[in-house]
């Protein structure tokens, strides 16, 4: 998408169609509130529209640029929420995890959603939920070696999905 297109209606519509859902997903994951996530996405596009002339596709993709803006919007939203908490009555609230960590967590979750269900299941069950290979193999009625190979091919698919989202670790 060229520099000027985000400044017209069609450019904004195309940018939203291409990246709106992902931006909303990250905003929801970061803020944990659908209303705040919606506001964050709207604010992101407004800021992007205002700063349209500063977007340089030579430096990075539109997606990267929008995520950088959303990151700042989320930081602002979290600060505002913290300020409200401090001035409110003393009710314990969950502490926001560091945003960079949230961003990686969201990327991993998004990548896990994109890989095949069989691969996702073995990775989640064995690595995230800590179930032994033998137990899962018995439950699924497959040899333990199949669980290992699914973990391997699942990780390869996960790596590819992460790279599609800009991960280069």
């Amino acid at each position: 998408m060229s520099v000027g297109t985000l400044r017209d209606d069609r450019g904004v519509r195309e940018a939203y169609a291409a990246h709106g859902s992902e931006l909303y997903g990250f905003a929801l994951r970061s803020l944990g509130d659908r209303g705040l996530a919606e506001e964050a996405v709207q604010e992101t596009f407004v800021r992007a529209w205002r700063a349209g002339s500063r977007f340089d596709p030579e430096i990075g993709s539109l997606r990267t640029w929008l995520f950088a803006i959303l990151r700042n919007v989320v930081i602002d939203a979290r600060r505002a929420r913290s300020a409200r908490r401090e001035s409110a009555v003393e009710v314990p609230e969950p502490i926001d995890e560091p945003l960079e960590r949230t961003l990686i967590a969201w990327q991993v979750e998004e990548a896990l959603r994109r890989i095949g269900e069989a691969h996702r299941e073995v990775i989640v069950q064995t690595h995230l939920l800590g179930r032994p290979h033998a137990e899962l193999a018995a439950e699924l009625g497959v040899p333990e070696g199949t669980i290992k190979s699914r973990v391997y091919y699942g990780l390869k698919a996960l790596r590819n999905a992460m790279e599609e989202m800009g991960y280069d670790g």
Partner: protein
């Protein structure tokens, strides 16, 4: 080593990097890695995932977050409101500048006030059903009038035809199909001068909505720009 042997070792690498092999299995894989550059490269590619995977929260994996229906439309509306705010600020700036220069005895026609920076006239449709919002932007052009229509709240897929009404009847401005994603018919054009247009209409499905064009748009473009 056969290709099958090699594949078998490779398929152990996932469990290896995630630390899911027992000591004997791990030692055997490590021995293979020591002599296999290809598998070491594969291990190095997968190892970083072992560090970041635990950050994922399985609770977030049960469903895929989907942007709420209509969010794209709200984004478009918000930007449109922003665009209009900028235009109003520019117009105020232009008006102030004209007053100042006129007081100094200089007549200056400001070209920045309309034209490329925004529409000449904005029209809100008042007589519409509850939940429906329609606005139109009209810009005077040398060939006639450029029209943008913003629609919200009608059935997706509805064909919309836009027209301007002049002294000799309606003049077609073009059509678009309404969708949730945008709800915008922009870049429409009507072969009638804006100064002659008295109303804007839109036929959406079986209904026709009409809104009068403010009299401020009736004067020729140059006079309108002089008056700011």
């Amino acid at each position: 080593m056969t290709a099958d042997d090699h594949r078998r070792w490779r398929e152990e690498l996932g469990a290896f990097v995630l630390g899911k092999l027992d000591l004997d299995e791990r030692a055997a894989v490590q021995a293979h890695l020591d002599g296999c550059a290809e598998c070491r490269a594969e291990r190095d590619l997968l190892s970083p995932l072992a560090e970041i995977l635990p950050l994922a929260d399985p609770a977030w994996l049960t469903s895929t977050p989907v942007a709420p229906r209509g969010l794209g439309r709200r984004v478009a509306r918000k930007i449109e409101a922003e665009r209009r705010g900028v235009r109003r600020r520019r117009l105020r700036l232009a008006a102030g500048f004209t007053t100042a220069t006129a007081a100094a005895g200089t007549v200056l026609v400001l070209a920045l006030s309309a034209g490329s920076s925004g529409p000449d006239t904005e029209v809100a449709f008042a007589d519409v059903p509850q939940g429906v919002h329609i606005t139109g932007d009209l810009t005077s052009r040398s060939w006639g009038t450029e029209v943008s229509v913003y629609v919200d709240g009608i059935r997706p897929g509805t064909p919309c035809r836009v027209f301007l009404r002049g002294p000799n009847g309606p003049v077609d401005a073009g059509s678009f199909r309404y969708s949730h994603a945008d709800g915008v018919g922009s870049g429409l054009s009507a072969a009638i001068d804006l100064s002659h247009a008295r109303a804007i209409g839109i036929r959406a499905g079986g209904r026709t909505f009409v809104a009068p064009i403010p009299s401020s748009a009736w004067q020729p473009a140059t006079a309108r720009r002089r008056s700011g």
